[in-house]
Symmetry: C2
């Protein structure tokens, strides 16, 4: 059996190319701190390999593993002079999880393991502090019973509360050693009742239980959700660290604390942290006592003295260690330490979590300090995290009426009509109307509705509720758990304070502060300046991918340019059809009985569409613009409910029954796979002709106005065969020639296609004969490759994540299988046409992991929503740098 | 410029590896008849290559082509001693199309080309028959003006009819040369009026016009439809044959005829044909005069004398020629000849069209006659044609009430409920109810409805109407153009004679005779015996592919076995759910609020499903049976209209609104891409557990009853990831172990998956780790690869065929791109698991072209509907033989 347990001092650590993969982050860092000469309590790491074996072995530790653990215990015993389970000088240990990346939701720590009815007495004798020993024991029973034995925490809290009530005291600190003794008995009784077994007195049994609990916590619901959000594969597994205990609660010359080498919220280069005298680590986390500051400077407004003042010698040693650590790791560190009888013990170090803002500042500062190179600085900022810096915020200069508040569950501000069902959200979104989805709470069935809404407001649920987690993942603003609002689904209203909000009323939510506001509020666009702008500039220096944007309005186009977009990768012309004035003509066109009638209606649409293009071309000022011809099935433009049908019937003077029968005719069982994309262009070439004419006439208008000239890229959607692109290209060229002849001005343009169907990818070589560019439409490509409708996937997506079938939602990051198809298309397309332009315009275009894939696959550009352009710029730079 | 026009005597013919590809069937055969020493009127062939050039050259003949034609004319002039356009001894020619395969719908023949106001006089002088010459000229004007100049035929007919009325005669033969002279002037006037041009007097202009017309007719609507039905690629093009005229209408020692070397309707080895004295070819075809028999034997009941009697010498020469031709071509020939002044001219020979019945007999006979080998005999029968021999027919021993009759548009008999809309047909089919779609006429929007119906009845339309053509293509019985029936869509009834038939009433149609019958009529299954059975036996000797069937009822299973099925390739378990008794439990199961309720409902379904399997296993008697676990989305089982909802609400004592809200919850935007297939197995493992238990318990029951033991192949549908098949396989094995333990009997089975999603094909290597077989579900694979919903494709399929985007409907024959994915899956699957079983179970499994593909790709079996099993057996044999 190979070695799967490693002492912190083990030489094996050095051999690992990626020690974190084997030892986890915590374990690897403990081993490295030892090497740096710090005082680290002796211990060992049970590797992530063991985790895998644990799951293979029906969630049990096999004998090889337990043997290796026992052998390592012997070494600690030797190092500390203590013995595990010894009634005179007992060794106590902490048990901590430690995955490759730090991961909340998993079991964190069990302290003081090794205590039982005998060893607690030894501890009391040894420390000459019976209350401390008893207190430690009861804490251990509490923690262990909860985490390992599954006895819910409130049971113990109740016992303590009742006891205090009986005794007539308020605080835990009012309880003495005898009180704890009684409670320890009560605790053990409770455990026996709940688990039908005695609380384990055998310390090895305790240890095996704790290790198993760490492994099992890897698969807990919260851990899974965290992995989902953060796209961590579920097969990594966790390591477990066993370390001899040191005590920060041995009296007033002991303490415990957490310290960052820089300020994690704003990035300023200063020691930042907290500590508690006479306490154990969990006290700092639990928040029952208010911790004191580490530095004198930080505590200048505090009554309590800082560690710098009270433990000057230890402070200096710590300060020196922190410096060493930052130099060693070349990154901001998050360090846990304990002072036991004035001796500093380093318990843990890891790269500190930080806000996007501080990440940017730290990266730029460290470059200035020559700690890291420019490359490293660019690699240091997580592109996804920039999202928090890139949401519009409320314009606080305007006046607004806050009608409720809740948790700031997902940042950003959004306004829209109130809707109470996902269906309604989808409907409004289809009609290009903004809405806010208001639900008591959300469930997986709401995913598509949440996607369709501009923001989500829930009455129930915390920061990790379904609504909050999903909204953050989607980048939708969300206010969750706003208990002030009372929702009445039946009457489609919600009440808050004295306000009654009906479906269709407009509200604004601010997901950064948790405010709910009546009406629409002006928002302020985020800006890219200072350090952020530096990182962006450096990124642009490294990246090779061009970053374009998906935009069809002048506003979006402008925003995207300000964020650094280098062109438009997807201008969806159908979005231009939904304007109130135009939709009438669109409907007229669809309901036409003859080609002539259709021409009439189209001729009314032409000037509108032309003007749209003129504006966009002007803004894009010479940058490329990819225009996609009409894509959705025509029935999407028709009225859906009775009232709308009546309205349309009136405005088009078409009898209701005739209108209804036409709507019925156009109905599709599977609209996603229906009469859409270039299939419309084949059936109704006059529609595409009008759109091409609008583009070309706009181009000529721009030339006349001396705007910087643009070469539009006309994109044919949903092509699956060579014949389709061939016929459509002929159409485009024909119209171009007509317009050219009419105006006597030469027109330049490209014709290409979206690759969004598996057949198009497979037959890319044939299609590339006629296409000057491919743009991968990964939304639809994912839908067809998997045979999964995104609109309907809510019904089983959760089951799929639970069952680990999807590690990552394939609609968020490009799936492996879909990726294979893209690679096939790229290689075949290039074989046919070396100069073919390649891009991606699905939502994956703004996802860093997918951008990395696009870079590796040799695409020329990615296109994403305007607010994701900076993320894409950084991700593209990182993709390039990671290639080296 | 290379040679694209070839004289019949040209030596180039011999050089062509496949002369038909270049010269067309007709041209190649004329050249070969010359070589056999027959009298063939001199002429030449304009090759199919010229057709391609014609279309490339904007539908014009280029100068090279016209030059080559003129050069060839010179040669004919030399051979015949006549001159084209000469006013003394003019050369007249026929112009005929001739594609690689004979193809109705294209321009057939223009005779007497070269006649004009001058040459007609020369012809009169030369033949000493002015009436014949004038008659020929007016016929030529009529034919040419119609076919080449586009003047509709009725215009000329009207002129003739009016003339006869004025003259007071009845028959054309009552008109003399002067009458024709007058009419010729009227005809020319008419042409001038209609075309704004004089009727061409220049004979070269005439010739160029006729050649162009042949090329253009290749692209006519009818030709396209024919190609679609017969799966002929549109890029083959046609050749044109120019041949000097001989005249069968030179008097009573002249004649013209058509003869087959064997009887084309029953295959008997006897000369079979018709001829007309003093007539041109078109008279035989037009049917204005009743032709006489060729042989004495055939004319024994006729008043007219046979050719054998009237032209004994010529008859003997013809008979000898026919023998020679059959020996040369080793196939039954269809020959055109003309007798000009007692001289026999062979005009054309080709392989004769024949009924399936005669094809089978001729193949077997020719083998017996040692004309062809067994291999050739098997290759001689078109598998698709067998379809006509494989439909159930009405049991004529039972009494039934014929209420209407129409055209026998597509063979076979079918009974079912009358429906008037495609939607209703789809709905009933979803509920496993048989229906007959009754429409005034059908349109492309009805395609899915026609597919869902068991038969089609139309009030309008002929043998080539949309309904007839599509029904034949689909193998659905059809009676078209039954003008007796009056359909009232609004009230959902049709009337015929004194009968009034309401929607939901049961009728039977007999597509082989055109009868419409009240109520359900017993049918007789077709049998395989005699020569048919011989061909089947020989096929089995050659084929390597196994032929399985898609069947889920004992009846289908039995039928398929009688037709030679070697197992079941697809048993769709959901079809077992629709029985009236069971659907209640199915709905109970779906509407369950808890897992327990669902278990309860499932436990009621278990015995039914188990019994189904016992019966099928018994019938299959040791052959493999592939059982697919539940596939369709659950909402398919729920009631759809108001009345049904009320009924279900009552029978399940579930409030209507609760039922409706559950139905709403289950609604899907794109059910084809929804919560179905193994996604159901992941979400509701208890359903699949029940189904597996039913299979295994049935297996044990069969063992106890000592039935021949079966190894079922359990098929997981709609897998797209490795994890899905892995989890599902674990479930199957778990249930198997349970049942095994309970019964203490060992169970053997295989677990595999359908490959019906592009991702499954791409990731076949991973999936094959867990799958013991792959079955290609080409219906869904085609839908997802193309992103086309078959249910909705009717809206644009026609546009796609018109635009030549689809040469062949990809839902009929496996598309090239889909084929690529299958090849990828086969190669990756085999790489992972050499022994993996490979099959296909989509509807393509019964399509000969697709079977050929499956054979080449190395699949082990194909599975098709019971009635197509013999077709598949033959196609599989041919696929193998073609490999040599």
């Amino acid at each position: 059996m190979k070695k799967i347990v490693f002492n912190f001092k083990s030489k094996a650590t050095k051999k690992f190319v990626k020690p974190k993969y084997i030892l986890g982050g915590k374990g690897a860092n403990l081993a490295e701190m030892g090497k740096l000469g710090f005082s680290v309590p002796p211990g060992f790491t049970i590797s992530t390999v063991a985790c895998e074996l644990f799951y293979k072995n029906k969630k049990k530790l096999n004998s090889t593993l337990t043997n290796q653990i026992k052998a390592e215990l012997k070494i600690i015993e030797k190092d500390t002079g203590k013995k595990f389970g010894d009634v005179k000088n007992p060794l106590l240990v902490s048990v901590r999880s430690g995955a490759r990346v730090s991961m909340p939701g998993m079991m964190d720590t069990i302290l003081n393991l090794g205590l039982n009815d005998q060893t607690v007495i030894a501890l009391a004798n040894k420390t000459k502090n019976t209350r401390f020993a008893k207190d430690s024991y009861r804490r251990f029973i509490q923690m262990y019973s909860n985490v390992v034995l599954g006895v819910e925490a409130y049971n113990f809290e109740d016992l303590i509360e009742n006891y205090k009530l009986t005794k007539g005291v308020l605080l835990d600190t009012d309880l003495d050693e005898n009180d704890w003794d009684g409670l320890i008995n009560d605790f053990k009784e409770l455990v026996k009742n709940k688990t039908k077994k005695e609380f384990p007195q055998n310390v090895i049994e305790q240890l095996i239980g704790a290790i198993s609990a760490v492994f099992i916590s890897w698969d807990s619901h919260r851990a899974k959700i965290y992995r989902k959000i953060n796209q961590i594969p579920s097969n990594w597994g966790t390591a477990v660290n066993i370390q001899s205990m040191v005590f920060g609660n041995m009296g007033n010359d002991s303490a415990t604390g957490v310290v960052f080498t820089r300020n994690p919220s704003n990035g300023i280069n200063e020691i930042y942290g907290e500590y508690l005298i006479n306490a154990q680590g969990e006290d700092v986390v639990a928040g029952t006592r208010t911790p004191q500051h580490i530095t004198k400077k930080a505590s200048k407004n505090s009554n309590e003295k800082s560690m710098e003042e009270l433990f000057p010698k230890v402070f200096n040693e710590l300060k020196k260690n922190l410096k060493t650590l930052e130099k060693y790791y070349k990154d901001m560190q998050d360090v846990e330490f304990t002072i036991e009888n004035k001796k500093l013990w380093m318990l843990q170090t890891r790269s500190g979590k930080r806000t996007a803002k501080s990440a940017v500042k730290i990266a730029v500062d460290m470059y200035k300090e020559k700690l890291i190179s420019k490359k490293e600085a660019v690699l240091r900022v997580d592109p996804s995290s920039l999202d928090t810096l890139l949401h519009p915020t409320l314009d606080e200069h305007t006046k607004f009426k806050v009608i409720a508040s809740g948790l700031p569950a997902s940042p950003g501000a959004a306004s829209g009509k109130v809707v109470f069902t996902s269906e309604e959200a989808i409907r409004l979104n289809d009609m290009m109307q903004n809405c806010i989805l208001v639900r008591i709470e959300t469930s997986p069935e709401d995913i598509h509705g949440m996607h369709s809404a501009k923001g989500i407001l829930t009455a129930r649920g915390g920061m990790t509720s379904h609504a909050a987690v999903v909204a953050r993942g989607m980048g939708r603003p969300c206010v969750s758990g706003s208990s002030e609002i009372k929702i009445d689904y039946k009457n489609k209203i919600f009440k808050s304070k004295d306000f009654e909000i009906k479906e269709g009323d407009i509200i604004t939510i601010d997901g950064s502060t948790g405010r709910v506001i009546l009406g629409e509020v002006k928002t302020v666009k985020p800006e890219i300046s200072g350090d952020f702008s530096k990182i962006m500039k450096w990124s642009d220096g490294f990246k090779k991918l061009k970053i374009r944007t998906n935009a069809e309005t002048p506003l979006d186009s402008k925003t995207a340019r300000e964020f650094g977009a280098e062109g438009i990768g997807l201008c969806r012309t159908e979005h231009m059809f939904f304007d109130e004035e135009r939709i009438l003509y669109v409907r007229q066109m669809i309901l036409s009985k003859s080609k002539n009638d259709r021409y009439m209606a189209l001729s009314k649409l032409l000037p509108h569409q032309k003007n749209d293009f003129i504006e966009i071309f002007k803004i894009m000022n010479g940058l490329p613009v990819t225009v996609r011809l009409l894509d959705p099935p025509l029935h999407e433009f028709l009225p859906k409910n009775k009232k709308e049908i009546e309205d349309v019937s009136k405005s088009l003077s078409l009898p209701v029954n005739e209108l209804e029968s036409r709507i019925n005719e156009l109905h599709e069982h599977n609209p996603m796979l229906g009469h859409r994309g270039c299939r419309l262009g084949i059936s109704f070439p006059e529609i595409y002709e009008m759109q091409c004419r609008a583009i070309f006439e706009a181009l000529i208008e721009c030339k006349k106005k001396k705007y910087k000239s643009i070469i539009p890229e006309i994109m044919i959607p949903l092509v699956s065969t060579e014949a389709e692109i061939k016929i459509m290209k002929e159409l485009v060229i024909r119209v171009a020639k007509e317009v050219q002849k009419e105006n006597k001005i030469k027109i330049e343009f490209l014709v290409g296609t979206m690759i969004e169907l598996p057949r198009a990818a497979i037959k890319a070589k044939d299609i590339a004969k006629h296409a000057e560019f491919f743009s991968f439409g990964t939304n639809d490509l994912t839908q067809t490759t998997f045979g999964i409708s995104r609109d309907d996937s809510g019904k089983f997506l959760n089951d799929y994540i639970e069952n680990k079938i999807f590690d990552i939602d394939p609609f968020v990051s490009i799936d492996d299988g879909v990726g294979d198809l893209i690679e096939i298309a790229v290689s075949k397309g290039k074989k046919q046409n070396k100069k073919i332009k390649l891009g991606i315009c699905g939502e994956h275009g703004g996802d860093p992991k997918s951008i990395d894939f696009c870079s590796k696959t040799g695409l020329n550009y990615v296109s994403c929503s305007p607010y994701r352009v900076p993320i894409a710029r950084l991700a593209a730079a990182q993709a390039e740098l990671k290639k080296d």
